[in-house]
């Protein structure tokens, strides 16, 4: 491993590999009603309202709200306005389905990884991060440079 590079291992929820700038959400968000079709947070009650999730490695404890979030995420992935990867502390089935459907229909693999609360606390606050997940052995690897 390169000097200065750090990594964390979690449980893979959806396979894929990508990287991007970190975006850590202060609160969970519902994609349905909370994110517009450009990938911008529009929930006025959310502290990061106005921030774009497109291309980011999105980190949040879990998703929130309606099962229609599946369709919204699939639409964002189709339109290439979705996050590059997602990291949760609690598996969000509704969002995992969105990733599975997009892989099926559009052959776009968005990695999703679940971390324990302890590992979650070790994620840096900002910077570029890479995520690689495989669901054969359910291993998700998160790497960044310090």
């Amino acid at each position: 491993m390169l000097s200065g590079s750090k990594s964390l291992t979690g449980r893979a929820l959806h396979p894929g590999s990508s990287s991007g700038e970190l975006l850590i959400l202060d609160q969970p968000i519902s994609f349905w009603g909370g994110v517009d079709h450009h990938g911008v947070i529009i929930d006025v009650h959310h502290p990061q309202c106005g921030v774009s999730v497109a291309g980011k490695v999105l980190v949040m404890t879990s998703g929130r709200g309606s099962s229609s979030a599946t369709a919204v995420l699939a639409e964002l992935i189709r339109a290439k306005k979705a996050p590059a990867a997602m990291i949760f502390t609690e598996c969000d089935t509704i969002l995992v389905i969105g990733a599975l459907v997009s892989a099926e229909l559009y052959q776009i693999q968005m990695p999703m990884v679940e971390l324990t609360a302890d590992s979650y606390a070790e994620i840096p606050k900002s910077g570029s991060i890479s995520v690689a997940a495989e669901t054969e052995n359910m291993i998700g690897l998160i790497k960044w440079l310090e």
């Binding site: 099962s67 369709a71 995992v96 389905i97 997009s102």
Partner: protein, 427 residues
Amino acid sequence: MTPPKLILTELEQAMLAGEHGPAIAMCMRLIVGVAKANQATRLIEIESAHADGCLYHGIAGLEYTEKLVELGGKVKVRTTTNVSSLDLLHPDLVHADATLATNGRRLMDAHLALGCEATWTCAPYQTGHRPEFGTQIAWAESNAIVFANSVLGARTDRYGDFLDISAAIVGRVPFAGLHTDEGRKAALVLDFSGISRELLEEESAWPAIGALLGDIAESKVAAIIGLPGDLSDGGLTEDRLKGLGATAASAGGVGLFHIVGVTPEAPTLAAVVNAKVETIKISTAQLRASRDRLTTAVGDDLDAVSLGTPHFSLAEFENLAKELEGGDKFLPSIDFYVSTSRGVLERAEALGYAQILKNAGGRIVTDTCTYVTPILNPKIKTVMTNSGKWAWYAPGNLGIETILGSVKECIASARAGKLVRNDALWF
């Protein structure tokens, strides 16, 4: 730590490998992907499904469903359809733009091509689709899920778009969550014994209980004690449980509740709790606060009334007709809507209830609902409803102010052209 391994039967492996056709393989990839994410160790067979992917949300849902049709997909179990974006029986009621009209219809047609029944209702359990106690099912639509689990004692996890139709096609779901005995145990107890019997006889108490349940339980299973009556004595009716569950599933992620002495899995509290769990005593002030969250309007101006979310039952139609018969018409300034299924409407027409509503000036919506598709006149600002679910979603979905009231109060208000509501029992 090694994650639990998903074990598929030989038949399931063959389905996944494409030996039973490409549509089944495509659906199996989704089911298996979800099973792995949820750490399920096996799949279980289901006896019925209710699909909510027929409400149009965008291209991805349409492309997924039409791809299944193209690949020759057919549902393996009885599958009813949830509300759509259109009212096929009253097409003039929905002001759909060209995209919604075309794609909404294509999505409905694709579901029928897959072998789903054209029920187009969020209350399939009141129009002939009532799974038996203990059966494993895959239902979508939050109110239908909580009703099937809680009132019928069937077993479904909280499913939504894509997974519902895929489960119907392979006849299987991951064995996890509310499908398991363990997942159905209550994690907390709510005690309503401090609420007066008179207040519990108020129709609006039930959506208020639902909002409070959703708020406190979030997505956990709760057991409720201290509610009087049973399903047969006319007090705790099926429609009240329907309203309670629909509101709880909106305000929180409730997929199952137990009412001790009422719902079928809870003859006693001991039957639904494992160890000692926290009991929360509910006060009248808390219940009133929950009811008040379902009213956003200030003042007594009113533009419309919307009943039937979830879809009106035949019993609700009968009660409405009794209240309306021989009385004044609604004022022309008030639009009065009742949403129901085409199945219930057919019987309500045969029994004359529908005509009584129309004579009073009411309009009937089928196949869809007044808060999920453009039906209301854009000038409408304030709507009264008996539905906690409608009141929960309409401010965000439609930008409308809401007032929660009983059916009687909704009728009185529509006749008066302004809010008429009796708050005496709430204080």
